[in-house]
Amino acid sequence: MRDLKHFLFFEELVCSSNNDLVRKAKEQGRVCAAFVCENTPEPLFNLKGCFGVRLTAPNTGSTDIANYYMTSLLCETSRALLERAIEGGYNFADCIIAPDGCTMMNRCIENMELARAVESGSDAFFYEHMEIPMKTDENGVALLVRQCRNHILTPLNRTYGIDISDEAMREAVRSHNEVCDLIRQIGEFRKADKPAITGYEFSVIVLATYVCPKDLLVEPLRETLEELKTREPDEKGYRARLLVVGAEMDDPEFIRLIEECGAYVCADRYCFGSFPGREPIELTEGEDVLTQICRHYTYQCQCPRQMNMDKVYARKAYVDALAKEYGADGILYNQIKFCDPWAYERVTGAATLREEYGYPVLSVDRPYNIHSSAGQMRTRVQAFVESIEVKKLREAR
């Protein structure tokens, strides 16, 4: 296919946390709120004068210093982020908001704080640790509302004078939804038999929306959507369509590796993905905006942190519905090495989707940087694709 006009731009944005758009927003005098978990309500960082960046550590090499602080038995993402902070990779941030989505990320941020790893140019720089619900109910919503007020809104207002009124939040949600709508429309192209966008391209574009000020991405996204409407898809088909499900995943190279094995990644359900992270937030009149945002995040959450049994089953049904909607032939469950919540979810999810829903499922754990184990991963994925292809041929016969 012909290259997308803005694709190189998107690729460059995801190659560094302190990317061109982050620097541009900082030059505009805006406050950068860095965060580390999909359970943090992102629109609260879109308030006027502020922008959010979800922290990543692209091209991570060794994590020797982080291993010293955290041991080599904790999740590789948390160690990679700490290492990058120590390397000076997050000095652009004006604050770091750390929910207790998992204990390992908690340890990561605590160590950043203790080691004074982030040397922000701002004297007002602060860390906030917040609690997030483990159950999907109205108590959980109330908890999240309190936590967001105490650990995001009030500190942003008190420290940097950010407007946290209902009107300001409504505008922030509108801006968030604009990006979500564009991503969802771009993602729709993946449903075609011969898609006009690759899974790798889509993963890069979605990742950019997590690591850049959203408003600065709207125009390139809009132009990309228009371009896709007339883009000629490749004639060469794919051997199998896969839905990728799993933990934190900010390495599009993993998606590229899967597609190099002959598969097409037709849908995504992972942290940093479009489902559920880019589902627009519906606001109504008559209830305060913060509660509505928090309700959206509590109920749409697909993180295994939520442990009520109805949610545990609903997560599998969600994957099944996505697979059907996007025409997936198989499901790839992945987990970052040593991730606790996904260690359980991957095993139970893979077994349930295989045995109860009847999908071919490949279940893998992977390093934070896929290049450290690309050969073995390629063998696994290729064998999985081959087995799906054989199954399809058999069914066709």
Partner: protein, 265 residues
């Protein structure tokens, strides 16, 4: 007569097989892999083609690359993962076998084989070199023995000295200490074989092995390991009538035969 090739470029050894259109094995070879996969494939193919009385890879109707360097096989029509190829190789050798443990140079795989030789399920252990060909090379080095000598050493043991370290490097240190302490070498070797056999347990389970299993890859020739698997896992290790190290290349050649014949039709 039409001929079909399979070339398995592994991390340690490169294997090549040529089949005729009836599926009969015409020639095969196994060479030590070079640092560059393409060079390994070229050398192995040169040998196997000469042995078959063919001039070049162009005399083959279809050629499939497999193994770690599968996408570096020159002239290959396509590449197929070694998991699929080992399953097919074992299937054409003994269709009754439904569970395979492939112990290669740098990983261990458990493969469940379907009735037509395709893969039903699989699992890989690639966290480190423990329990792989590289591990055995390190152990044989510690005993100052060749691999074939080392593979038979444990068969004489009356007792087993368990090896506690899982890591190849630490296990080598542990073995050197035990030898230094004057412990019987055959009992240390039996401990090493038992440790590897235990690592194969999960792979055997994932492969759905019930009462028997086939071993493939270079380590399948290790007699001490076979004995340990039969003892520890209580599984009968099936004797394959073709060299087990050739199974990947054989499976690739069989796939080449099926695809080549279909293409000709």
């Amino acid at each position: 007569m039409k001929y079909f090739g399979g070339c398995d470029v592994g991390s340690t050894y490169t294997k090549a097989v040529i089949l005729d259109e009836d599926g009969k094995l015409v020639s095969s070879t196994t060479i030590r892999s070079k640092i560059r996969s393409q060079e390994s494939a070229e050398l192995a193919m040169k040998e196997v083609l000469e042995a078959a009385g063919l001039h070049s890879a162009e005399d083959l109707t279809y050629l499939i690359g497999t193994g770690y360097g599968r996408n570096k096989v020159p002239f290959a029509d396509e590449n197929i993962s070694e998991i699929s190829c080992h399953a097919m190789g074992v299937h054409v050798t003994d269709p009754a076998v439904k569970a395979v443990i492939d112990i290669g140079g740098q990983d261990v795989k458990g493969i469940a084989v379907d009735t037509d030789g395709t893969v039903k399920n699989f699992a890989l252990n690639d966290k480190c070199a423990a329990g792989t060909g590289r591990f055995y090379e390190a152990m044989a080095r510690s005993f100052e023995m060749s691999l074939p000598e080392f593979s038979k050493l444990s068969l004489k043991a009356k007792n087993v000295i368990p090896i506690t370290a899982q890591c190849t490097v630490f296990a080598e240190s542990e073995v050197i200490s035990l030898v230094g302490e004057g412990k019987p070498e055959e009992e240390i070797a039996a401990g090493i074989q038992m440790a590897v056999a235990k690592r194969c347990f999960v792979m055997a389970k994932k492969a759905g092995a019930v009462d028997h299993v086939a071993l493939t890859g270079g380590c399948a020739k290790n007699e001490g390991l076979k004995a340990a698997i039969e003892k520890v896992l209580k599984l009968k290790v099936v004797e394959l009538k073709t060299d087990p190290q050739l199974m990947g290349a054989l499976g690739a050649a069989e796939y080449a035969r099926q695809k080549g014949m279909a293409k000709e039709r």
